[in-house]
């Protein structure tokens, strides 16, 4: 394609390596003015790297960038902003106890001739943008008091306030409820109507089809294709993204729930700030059943898991497994009572990254026979056991027993944890965000494993922020909101909209924006 000023952004031959890893290999990108352009790819495909280069966070090893047909050098984010490029990251960069207004003007305050902040002028400018694009935000609310969806709008507002024409959104829907996603897409369309250009980084196929005009697919640092998302189906997009055909729907037979294995009654847990995050929550998980907890991040999921693992104090209520109360004992006791957990943050909670795979494999069993005898580790047994699991669960590269866990890909790290937890032969398997950051192929595998365990008669508690995952995998769906279960449904009893409303704190009929 010719370099032309009909394009807001044109990137040519962008190359970037990290150490010996080639993150981007001669990637070209053409973003037409006034469009929503999606960048689709698996985690680690290079899409965020490409955008971080455009935003000046990384320096490309090779290649050129053209804005409106003119070649530019973007050496840091400040330069990017000067060129009219703004980026909203997955993790917001807001000052929690500042108001919306303060956050928006932070760093580019309007000052009068005395150098004092001119609040009135700033306010006029901000309110002008709010009205123009139809944001409904209270400029005087504190960030800590508003929802995640609102915070995201503040981030977008921040960029617009700085006069940005090209807006990069990095996985913007990861933390949103379905309703909030709809609102966001509305805002995006509004922006484009007003002449802005949006680049959307995502791996969610559905949203691309709902929002984008053009979709560029990147796989392993290489440009694969640029398509019109309205004209291709999700399966095709997924196939281009992973490089082979995938099944998007979880294959499973109806559940055959047995007796109750795990029961939480009226549980209350405080979070780190001392605020009650779980407030009188009750739930039951049966044998041979996957109970999925749907909810927006920060509604008590983390504290719930920590209380079950006895890492956080249960202020009130009971947690029973097979009839034994375990609340406020030790993590070791939870493990002993046959609770196994696939933690949310596998690098922080799940693995000792600098330990070898085999050491990680025995992390919970190192002091049990046959892995140790009288306090001395038996490396031969450890190796034998690990090799079996590596083969069973197809953890790659094969022969990675002595390799540090950090050397594995995200998907294989997750397989390592899953194989370890499942081989504990637990009565309750808790899976928290088990597919976070995994590619489509790995997701399929994890889902299959969870269903397999269910079919063996295990009780499975799935906690996920991906509503699609909860809805397709769970036999019973419980919605968590504000530290309580807001509603429970059998699979198929409720549609996405109903659940989405509950997730956002609305009743069955009420809408809470």
């Amino acid at each position: 394609m010719e370099i032309s000023d009909a394009y807001a952004v044109q990137m040519r031959g962008i190359t970037k390596t990290f150490g010996s890893f080639r993150a981007l290999d001669h990637v070209d990108l053409d973003v037409k003015k006034g469009t929503i352009h999606a960048l689709l790819g698996e985690n680690g495909a290079g899409k965020s790297t490409l955008m971080n280069i455009l935003y000046g966070f990384y320096k490309a090893d090779g290649g050129d960038i053209y804005l409106n047909g003119r070649k530019v050098r973007i050496k840091d984010p400040n330069t990017a902003i000067k060129h009219g490029i703004g980026m909203v990251h997955q993790h917001f960069m807001l000052v929690e106890n500042f108001t919306v207004m303060q956050n928006v003007i932070l760093g580019s305050e309007v000052t009068n001739h005395l150098g004092v902040i001119d609040n009135k002028k700033a306010r006029e400018k901000v309110m002008g943008i709010v009205e123009q694009y139809g944001f409904s935000v209270d400029p005087d609310a504190k960030i800590e008091d508003i929802s995640v969806g609102m915070q995201q709008r503040v981030e977008i507002l921040k960029a617009l306030y700085r006069g940005v024409d090209i807006l990069i959104l990095d996985e913007p829907t990861a933390v949103l409820t379905p309703q909030e996603i709809e609102d966001l897409i509305g805002i995006m369309h509004n922006l484009v109507k007003n002449g802005k250009t949006i680049i959307l980084i995502t791996h969610k196929l559905k949203e691309i089809r709902q929002s984008s005009d053009v979709c560029t697919i990147i796989r392993r640092g290489k440009l694969i294709d640029t398509v019109n998302p309205q004209k291709v189906d999700e399966e095709t997009l997924a196939e281009k993204m992973v490089g082979h055909s995938v099944k998007l729907i979880v294959d499973k037979t109806p559940a055959q729930p047995g007796e109750t294995v795990f029961e939480i009654d009226n549980l209350s847990v405080k979070d780190r700030r001392g605020l009650e995050a779980v407030k009188g929550l009750s739930l039951k998980v049966h044998k041979g059943e996957i109970l999925g907890i749907a909810g927006v991040d920060g509604n008590g999921q983390e504290e719930l898991v920590e209380a079950v693992m006895c890492l956080a104090k249960a202020e009130n209520g009971t947690i029973k497994i097979n009839g034994n109360e375990i609340q406020n004992t030790t993590p070791a006791n939870a493990v002993k009572n046959k609770i196994s957990t696939i933690p949310e943050d596998r690098q922080r909670r799940g693995l000792v990254m600098n330990f070898s795979c085999e050491q990680n494999m025995i992390l919970e069993k190192y002091n049990q026979p046959p892995f140790s005898k009288k306090g001395i580790l038996r490396n031969g047994e450890v190796r034998k056991y690990t090799s079996e699991l590596i083969a069973d669960y197809d953890i790659r590269p094969s022969g990675c027993e002595a390799m540090p866990a950090r050397g594995l890909s995200g998907g294989n790290q997750q397989k390592l944890i899953i194989s370890r937890e499942i081989s504990n032969d637990p009565d309750l398997l808790i899976a928290v965000q088990p597919t976070r950051g995994l590619d489509v192929g790995a997701i399929e595998y994890v889902h299959k494993m969870l269903v397999r365990e269910r079919d063996k008669g295990k009780a499975i508690l799935l906690i996920s922020l991906e509503l699609d995952e909860v809805m397709s995998l769970s036999d019973t769906i419980a919605v968590i909101y504000g530290g309580k279960i807001a509603g429970t449904f059998k699979q198929g009893q409720a549609d996405e909209k109903t659940i989405g409303l509950l997730m956002a704190g609305g009743g069955q009929n009420a809408v809470n924006s």
């Binding site: 993590p331 493990v335 922080r348 909670r349 990254m353 330990f355 992390l363 140790s372």
Partner: protein, 374 residues
């Protein structure tokens, strides 16, 4: 190229390169001060190796810092930064000296009692840090720095108590000879011993003029034991898991606080052992009023650091350090260069070890350069 990169990435390589840089910087400083660096280094090495007894002294000087090095390295494996090795050493030295002075049992009892007392004293001093960390989450660096000073002043106070203070000296009475751990401490000065040693001049020099003691064997044994505990036992597995990822260790049910406490106790005990070996194995077999820290513990920090936390590495780093400390004096007496040069050299080496990430960066660049040619 790939091979070079691989070699550069090995921790031992960066340690060695740091040593070389240490010498280079020292050479520059020496030249700037008007001394011939070759002569100075010659003096340094002849001060370490010219006579068997010099090397014996190097080993004797190295013994306590190998042990304090192990102490620091052990704590570091559980991600604890035991800057308190100095205080643990001082406190243990005090306990060993007082007991050694007041008890007078046969050597077979006296020696184990004193060693255990030193180990226990160091363990207690380290344990205090561990408890404060585990129970109240107070950072170990803060508490151990404070405990260093408490130990220093406590020791000085005790040295000056009438019951222990040797009149007209700056120190206490020495411990009773039954607590000596030198090689054949009485035989070598006896008539038969002297007669025997006369026939082997170098051995005579080593035996009579240096405090050859069992400390180095203890230090080597401890290094091996520490390696075994860390890498072959479930306790060591726990501690390393806690050290590498406390969150994960907690999650899988390891008692993190207990592990931290155990680690600090063991670390303190190793420093205490260092103190016991020094007091029992080397003149003057007592403790003196300390003007400032003697750096037995702080040198252990450097040793552990140069060794990259490896137990066996601590032996070599400790010997290197002991060599510098002892052989460095020869630079002073032979060519008149001030002893500060040696301090600068040691400082530079440690500094470059701290910068060893630069070396692995260079390794990365080499590897990358290679890849882009391919």
């Amino acid at each position: 190229m790939q091979l070079t990169a691989k070699i550069l990435k090995k921790p031992i390589t960066s340690a060695l390169i740091s040593v070389v840089f240490g010498f280079l910087v020292a050479a520059v400083v020496l030249s700037a001060a008007g001394y011939n660096p070759w002569q100075a280094f010659g003096a340094l090495f002849s001060g370490m190796f010219a006579k068997p007894k010099y090397f014996s002294n190097v080993i004797i000087k190295a013994t306590p810092i190998i042990l304090t090095g192990l102490s620091v390295a052990f704590a570091f494996k559980t991600s604890l930064f035991n800057i308190g090795a100095e205080g643990q050493y001082i406190f243990a030295a005090m306990v060993v000296t007082l007991l050694g002075m007041k008890l007078n049992m046969p050597a077979v009892l006296q020696i184990p009692v004193l060693v255990l007392a030193g180990v226990a004293a160091g363990g207690i001093w380290g344990g205090i840090v561990g408890i404060l960390k585990a129970k109240y989450g107070i950072h170990e660096v803060i508490t151990s720095i404070m405990l260093n000073w408490i130990a220093l002043y406590l020791s000085n106070y005790v040295v000056n108590l009438q019951a222990f203070h040797q009149p007209n000296s700056t120190g206490t009475y020495p411990i009773n000879t039954s607590g000596y751990v030198m090689l054949l401490p009485t035989w070598k000065y006896s008539d038969s011993g002297k007669a025997f040693l006369k026939r082997i001049p170098w051995l005579k020099e080593v035996m009579l003029k240096t405090d050859v003691n069992f400390g180095i064997l203890v230090a080597v044994l401890m290094a091996v034991l520490m390696w075994f505990v860390l890498y072959r036992t479930t306790k060591g597995f726990e501690m390393r898991a806690v050290g590498l990822n406390r969150d994960a260790a907690e999650f899988v049910g390891i008692n993190v606080n207990r592990s931290l406490l155990e680690s600090m106790v063991i670390s303190g005990a190793l420093s205490g052992l260092a103190a016991a070996m020094s007091v029992m194995g080397m003149a003057p077999h007592n403790i003196s009023t300390l003007a400032a820290f003697e750096n037995n513990g702080f040198n252990g920090l450097s040793v552990a650091f140069i060794a990259g936390g490896s137990p066996v590495g601590c032996i070599f780093a400790g010997l290197l350090f002991g060599g510098f400390l002892y052989g460095g004096k020869n630079v002073q007496s032979e060519i008149g260069a001030p002893s500060e040069i040696i301090d600068i050299m040691i400082g530079t080496i440690v500094f470059f070890v701290a910068l060893s990430t630069v070396i692995s960066k260079i390794a990365d660049r080499l590897a990358k350069g290679d890849a882009s040619h391919a």
